[in-house]
């Protein structure tokens, strides 16, 4: 795309000004006074008031980028006028020498975000780390592509809240489908099986809770000061998320099923075929140990006419009620 070269656009002029300011503050050992800065950076206004406003904003913006801009007395004996500088040691990335295979996995980690909200920072970080010119050993990671997704609008505000320990409030669609405002001190943000979850202390329930980001309606709002609470030292987000999804290891019940030959391979994987005269011709008897009877009932219902429950009777009853509900929902009337 050709570009008209009539002089810089306002945005380009500002980039130039900020870059000149950074270079000026990095190349000085002595803190620079405002007057010196005004001389050193060509774009600053002649108007005193306008300069002050512009310089204040520029300082804030550089700091927001993570540039360690220091305010120091120019003369240690007279602290009436502050000066400014950037210490090269505070500014620069520490000297890190990466091996080619290390840079390759860092490249992989960076690309993982390429379709997610951290794509920009991830790419910038890679460029900084590979600045020294070491060539990535791409062959060592050939054919591996982790892809992370963050399509939920709540991702960024929740990430900030978790990192800065800031209480938030948001409208949440619960299991029953209705929206309710929740107040939470977020502890962690975790992606499990492709979904993002925030764990934390639910101030309305006064108990630890797990929330799915895709059930948060709109953007969460800050509801308190950063650093306003502690995260429990023994907090284990995955265990909490698993428990909330009914994926809990614990006590198990033995169930016996009749399974048609070669059908229901996922159930077969979880159980063992036992010799049993009760199975009709062309069927096997399968014994399965389960923690959650409801989950097994759903699995058996999904398998349809290929699987029948022998015992326990509660399981058979659950499967029957699931199937009856399916039949009724599809115009089959009560069976």
């Amino acid at each position: 795309m050709p570009k008209a070269t009539k002089g810089p656009s306002p945005a380009a002029a500002k980039t130039e000004r900020l870059l000149n300011l950074v270079i000026a503050l990095l190349s000085t050992r002595q803190p620079l006074s405002r007057a010196r800065i005004r001389e050193a950076v060509p774009d600053y206004s002649d108007n005193d008031e306008a300069f002050e406003r512009m310089f204040e904003r520029d300082k804030d913006e550089l700091r927001a980028l993570g540039i360690p801009l220091r305010t120091e007395p120019i003369d240690p004996f007279f602290d009436d006028e502050p000066g400014y500088r950037i210490d090269q040691r505070e500014y620069a990335l520490p000297e890190l020498s990466f091996e080619p295979d290390e840079l390759a996995v860092i490249g992989l980690a960076s690309r993982a975000w390429s379709h997610a909200s951290l794509a920009g920072p991830a790419a910038l970080a890679l460029r900084k780390l590979e600045a020294a010119g070491v060539v990535r050993d791409e062959a060592s990671v050939a054919g591996i592509e982790p892809l992370l997704r963050t399509s939920e609008p709540a991702f960024e505000p929740v990430r900030d809240a978790v990192l800065r320990r800031t209480p938030i409030r948001f409208d949440y669609r619960g299991g029953s489908g209705d929206l309710a405002e929740r107040h939470v001190q977020p502890w962690s943000l975790t992606s499990w099986h492709g979904r993002w979850y925030v764990t934390g202390h639910d101030l309305d329930r006064d108990a630890p809770r797990v929330f799915r980001l895709d059930r948060i309606s709109g953007r969460p709002a800050r509801a308190g000061r950063p650093g306003g609470y502690e995260v429990p030292a023994d907090h284990d987000p995955l265990t909490m998320i698993r428990a909330s999804s009914g994926d809990v290891p614990g006590t198990t019940v033995a169930a016996r099923l009749h399974v048609r030959d070669a059908a229901a391979s996922s159930l077969r994987r979880r159980g063992t075929v036992v010799t049993d005269r009760s199975a009709p011709e062309g069927w096997d008897t399968l014994e399965v140990q389960v923690g959650d009877l409801r989950a097994l009932a759903e699995e058996v219902a999904a398998a349809g006419a290929d699987v029948r429950v022998v015992e326990p009777p509660e399981l058979a009853e659950q499967v029957r009620s699931i199937l009856r509900a399916v039949l009724e929902a599809h115009g089959g009337g009560a069976a």
Binding site: V162, R173, H193, G331
Partner: protein
């Protein structure tokens, strides 16, 4: 491709670009653009900005020297910004979170390189490394390490794989030969993408459904020029030949709309949804509907509604009901 870039994000980009170019004197413009992830004209625009910046005084000797004649890029006289700025919070966070997830995936080879890279990064990131522990990604760490290693071997040695694979939609186990193309993690699951000789097409195989994998002696010979599939929208894809179905979802099953690629969603109030989606294998839908016990109701097409009812009736007959 014109997304708005603020003056400050451009500054960040330039401060990272200068050290990168200083160590790659004479790189050709096209490669620089490709590796920096911007267009060639953007690189030239950026060099034009650098060219007018420099140390106070701004005499020619004070300015950054940037040249790009003959399509080769040279940058010099930029000592004060020759080192990159420290990693910002989100930069360190992104890399550390993804590397920790990779480190937890067994058998992904070079886990040693992942550990070494992580140690260096965590040291450089300081406090952020600790805070990054609050954000984590679980990339299916329960996969058997030897399975992942077998698939990796086939991939790096370009050899054919024999798979025993469970097809979830039909709940049956199949045997097939596959020429591996890549291993992709999408939505917290690892998939092998490969040319399936049985289907004569590119297929995705979820690694946790591979029951057995053997590396064969034959070389992998996938057809050349297979188009790269964009998986950024998820692993599931509707196809134009698929049947369009309309489903009514009760609130407890509203997750179906988030978990599968639906073509339209209508909110019916009270958390109930009506969605349309494309379904390739109706057996998958039958299983889903039966599992959800009436919370997922097929509204159309008519014949499918009757088949669902017939399937439920047949299953109930097994209980003498």
């Amino acid at each position: 491709m014109s997304t708005y870039e603020s003056a400050t994000s451009r500054l960040s980009r330039l401060l990272a670009m200068v050290p990168w170019l200083l160590n790659r004197q004479g790189i050709d413009l096209a490669s620089a653009a490709a590796e920096l992830g911007v267009s060639e004209s953007q690189v030239v625009d950026d060099l034009q900005v650098l060219f007018v910046c420099g140390t106070p005084g701004h005499f020619p000797d004070d300015l950054i020297d940037a040249q790009w004649e003959d399509g080769r890029v040279y940058v010099s006289n930029a000592d004060s910004i020759a080192r990159p700025l420290r990693l910002g919070r989100d930069e360190a966070l992104a890399l550390i979170v993804a590397l920790r997830a990779l480190a937890a995936t067994p058998g992904l080879a070079h886990s040693d390189a992942v550990d070494r890279a992580l140690a260096k990064l965590e040291q450089a990131a300081g406090d952020v490394a600790e805070a990054a522990g609050k954000v984590s990604v679980d990339l299916d760490p329960e996969l058997p390490a030897d399975l992942v290693a077998t698939v990796r071997t086939a991939l790096t040695e370009a050899r054919r794989l024999h798979l025993r694979y469970r097809v979830a939609s039909r709940d049956e186990t199949t045997e097939r030969d596959v020429d591996p193309l890549r291993v992709v993690s999408v939505d917290g699951r690892w998939y092998l993408e490969g040319w399936c000789h049985r289907a004569q097409g590119v297929r995705l195989f979820r690694l946790d459904r591979v029951e057995d994998a053997q590396v064969l002696d034959q070389p992998a010979t996938p057809p050349a020029d297979l188009p790269e599939r964009d998986l950024s929208g998820g692993a599931f894809r509707g196809s134009p030949e698929d049947t369009v179905v309309t489903l009514h979802l009760e609130p407890g099953s509203a997750w179906v709309a988030d978990s599968f690629p639906v073509e339209s969603v209508t909110e019916l109030g009270g958390g109930r949804l009506e969605v349309t989606m494309r379904v390739g294998d109706p057996r998958w839908l039958h299983r889903l509907v039966r599992r959800q016990g009436g919370e997922v109701r097929v509204l159309a097409p008519g014949p499918l509604v009757e088949e669902v009812a017939a399937g439920a009736r047949a299953a109930l007959e097994g209980y003498g009901a």
